[in-house]
């Protein structure tokens, strides 16, 4: 369940080798000022990080270079903070190819070349269930779709042993009409009723949940399958919530 697929893990591992000296010495500097002590306790032994930061001229860097420096080398983040998937905060902050291509500033649009690359990376990331795409249990899917729990770290890490991580769907989508969902993404009310449940529609929906960039390059939507947040069974359950005629989504 915690497997981090795609290139993210490899990139993160490589980067942590390269950068391991940068952030670590600075980690303790702000420790006493942190909101709550992180699980990885550190001895308050380092005022040593401050002079190091001062020797760097922020004004000589491009905004992009300074942003990367602030994130990875200024001691601003707890880069060694453990994550639920067994990596560290550093891996969470390290961008993979899709995240890089899709970090568009104001007025920027994805180039045709970048769009093709993002869609190809997305297509390559998708793994399909061995027995074909099937619908699971809509009641379980409802729980998952309405849960925002999981993978939060920072000052209050989610404990996955206490509760399963959810799909966060409701944050951005209106689902059934019995509860208020967000509207950053399109409304999915009546999803199965309006679209039917042909094999093509099931495949399309599975792919959009797994890695939506395959259809919508640089969409805001997370890659729930490709990042390992949802496994194939959980995706099947959420799809049942969307397609099952008995599901409140289709009432």
């Amino acid at each position: 369940m915690f497997k981090k697929t795609s290139t993210a893990a490899a990139v993160a591992a490589a980067t942590s080798l390269l950068l391991i000296t940068g952030g670590c010495s600075a980690t303790n500097a702000g420790k006493t000022e942190a909101a709550k002590p992180a699980p990885a306790a550190a001895a308050p032994a380092a005022a040593a990080a401050a002079p190091k930061a001062k020797s760097v001229d922020y004004t000589a860097m491009s905004p992009k270079a300074l942003a990367e420096y602030l994130i990875f080398e200024s001691g601003s983040y707890e880069l060694d903070q453990p994550t639920q998937e067994g990596t560290t905060g550093r891996a969470r902050l390290t961008q993979d190819e899709i995240q890089k291509a899709c970090s568009l500033m104001k007025g920027e649009e994805v180039s045709d070349k970048a769009r093709e690359k993002v869609m190809a990376l997305a297509a390559a990331s998708i793994k399909y269930p061995e027995g074909g795409i099937k619908l699971g249990d809509w009641k379980k899917g409802r729980e998952l779709a309405w849960s925002g729990f999981g993978y939060r770290t920072a000052h209050n890490p989610d404990d996955h042993s206490s509760r399963e991580a959810g799909g966060n769907c409701y944050n951005c989508h209106q689902l059934a009409t019995d509860r208020t969902g967000g509207d950053i993404g399109p409304s999915l009310t009546g999803y199965g009723k309006n679209r039917g449940s042909s094999p093509d529609m099931l495949k399309y929906t599975y792919e959009v949940i797994y890695n939506p960039h395959v259809y919508f390059a640089c969409t805001n939507m997370p890659r729930m399958g490709a990042t390992g947040v949802l496994n194939q069974q959980q995706i099947a359950d959420i799809m049942a919530y969307l397609f099952d005629p008995a599901s409140p989504v289709n009432k």
């Binding site: 000022e33 905004p63 983040y77 902050l93 568009l104 104001k106």
Partner: protein
């Protein structure tokens, strides 16, 4: 002699009226004007209950406690904070928060209200990082939040105007802008994912749009009492909580990355009046 004093009284009262908190405008009036200006922005108007409660904002009690702390000699050096320079000269609080973050020559750093306050508590009062007065960063019962709420309230109605004259101010703002749009983490989120569209909602909460300064000013107006937390919160706390939702690792209070983000987001509200203390969900 008594007569003379009597004659001076009206003058003294008049002086007090102009030199006192006259610069700060009641937050509820500031908000009201913004709502009219935006033709009822869905973000600004989302909680009629909060708007109604603004004159009785629990943050005012926190600000009052902050005023006492500010003026009381404290710490190993037994000094008050009345000589603290927040950028407009020692002891000048009127409009100071609206011009932060800014570069301070005495530290060589760009500092926000939080970090500048801590700096003064250390240098003027002699507190250290381990003293509870500095260590406890969050909650209405913390010295830091009491003081920030008092100081911040002196900028209510004052247009945000963080200086960009020093190259470091510009560098931090620009790096903060890059970070605002930079996607990473488990869910591929950046700040821009939620804050670049009009009237969009996360669940039932309407999100502020960084491109609408009249709306954005309320979003960045901290300290604010959060009704869902029952505590007054700071800009630093907002950064922390957003990044938590975004699945990012812990960011350190007052870190350069946090200052860069706050520099960008304050610049995005430039020219619009601060609503401090605010009341938020």
């Amino acid at each position: 002699m008594f007569k003379k004093a009597l004659r001076a009284l009206p003058i003294a009262l008049a002086v007090a009226a102009t030199a006192g908190p006259s610069m700060a405008e009641a937050p509820e009036d500031v908000l009201d004007a913004l709502i009219k200006k935006t033709n009822n922005s869905p973000y600004l108007t989302q909680s009629p209950q909060n708007i109604m409660m603004m004159p009785d904002n629990p943050a005012w009690l926190v600000a009052e406690a902050g005023e006492i702390l500010f003026k009381t000699p404290r710490g190993p050096k037994n000094a008050s904070l009345e000589k603290c320079d927040f950028g407009k000269g020692p002891g000048v609080l009127e409009g100071a928060h609206a011009e932060l973050p800014r570069y301070f020559a005495d530290t060589g750093k760009v500092m926000d209200l939080d970090t500048r306050l801590v700096h003064c508590m250390k240098t003027l009062q002699g507190f250290t990082n381990d003293d509870p007065a500095i260590k406890k960063k969050h909650g209405s019962d913390s010295d830091i939040m009491k003081l920030q709420t008092y100081i911040g309230s002196k900028s209510s109605g004052v247009p945000w105007n963080p200086p960009m004259n020093h190259p470091l101010e510009k560098a931090m703002r620009d790096a903060g802008e890059v970070m605002f749009y930079r996607r990473s983490g488990t869910m591929d989120f950046s700040c821009a994912t939620c804050h670049t569209q009009d009237g969009k909602r996360i669940r039932a909460s309407v999100l502020p749009n960084v491109y609408v300064p009249e709306e954005w000013t309320k979003a960045i107006s901290w300290p604010a009492h959060r009704t869902s937390h029952e505590h007054v919160r700071s800009s630093q706390h907002r950064v922390l909580e957003c990044l938590w939702q975004m699945r990012y690792p812990n960011i350190k209070n007052g870190s350069d990355a946090s200052i860069a983000l706050i520099s960008f987001w304050t610049d995005a509200a430039r020219g619009q009046p601060a609503v401090v203390p605010d009341l938020k969900r």
